[in-house]
Symmetry: C2
Subunit: 177 residues, 2 copies
Amino acid sequence: MPPRAAFSRTTTAARATRASMSADKPASGRRKAGAVSDLGALNGHLGYFIRRLQIWVFQDFIRTLAPLEISPAQFSVLSVINANEGLSQAELGNTLAIERARLVRLLNRLQKRRLIERLPSSADGRRHALRLTPIGQTTLKQAMALADRHEAGLLAKLGEERYGALMEALRDPSASS
Amino acid sequence: MPPRAAFSRTTTAARATRASMSADKPASGRRKAGAVSDLGALNGHLGYFIRRLQIWVFQDFIRTLAPLEISPAQFSVLSVINANEGLSQAELGNTLAIERARLVRLLNRLQKRRLIERLPSSADGRRHALRLTPIGQTTLKQAMALADRHEAGLLAKLGEERYGALMEALRDPSASS
DNA sequence: ATCATATTGTTGACTAGGACAACAATTCCC
DNA sequence: GGGAATTGTTGTCCTAGTCAACAATATGAT
């Protein structure tokens, strides 16, 4: 009992077309390299489409923030630190679902770039209290401006209804374990 | 993935906060270990939520297909080959947005497991005509059954409206390059 | 107070994914 | 025939993600 009962439409969607010969190609016409085939069993699976969109969105984000050399992961880390000054690495990792070891190296790079600091926690000798340096704050501000431009482009590309539907549906997916 | 949803039901309440707490502790006491903090600037960004859901979906897919040891990428490759027997690696790569070099190594592993074959293309000496072996066909059939179970679980977890909205919004061709 | 247990941050090692350059073989097309 | 393009392949690099181990520190039961 596949779940597609309600939303099936089965496979009629993506019927790939073989381009006709000699449409409008650059100087040397040859077999179309952009040809796309039938997705087959992938058509009923949400994960595939989510993945494709996610990759596209991240690539656009990376392109847009390239002048600052801030990756999506770095942006998320800076944002959460900025919104929760003094939090620990464990809390940060829990918030963003980044594993401890991975987070250590992420923070190392940000610290080397003088964007964040690891202060000793007065209450707990094991923890570090994380916060942005002044440089980190201004960098994050610039990053947020670019990220907003990225988001605006995303909305333009998807269209308002689709963007809104996605935002609505994606917020707070109850997931654990 | 940490239990994010259990605490942060209100997305709007998240943007206030961060008033003047001390550097390493909230005024009212120690933060709990599993606590989740404010997402800050991430809250308006679609990419973050897409990413979180995509990770969750893939992890569930991997768990569900673990008995067959078929990854999402491998499943997509087998599905497209099955639906387009004899296609070339270039066409397969274009269809799934997998780069040539990466696809070569993906196919190497599947070929070593006797799930696919690379036949010489009669028309073009450079190409390989890809197809599933009998073992590959039965494996894919089993994988599709498990993938459908995964999909059903996904629908149950998200709820019908949200699942349907996502499928609707994601399915159309809007992403490329 | 003591001792087992848990948490925090860190390092090392390993696997996958993705990007890019170079290359040989082949095909296209003028 | 010969230059240009395509196809598959290999090599190399870098980032992500996972896991195990470890030292330092904190916690809690007794």
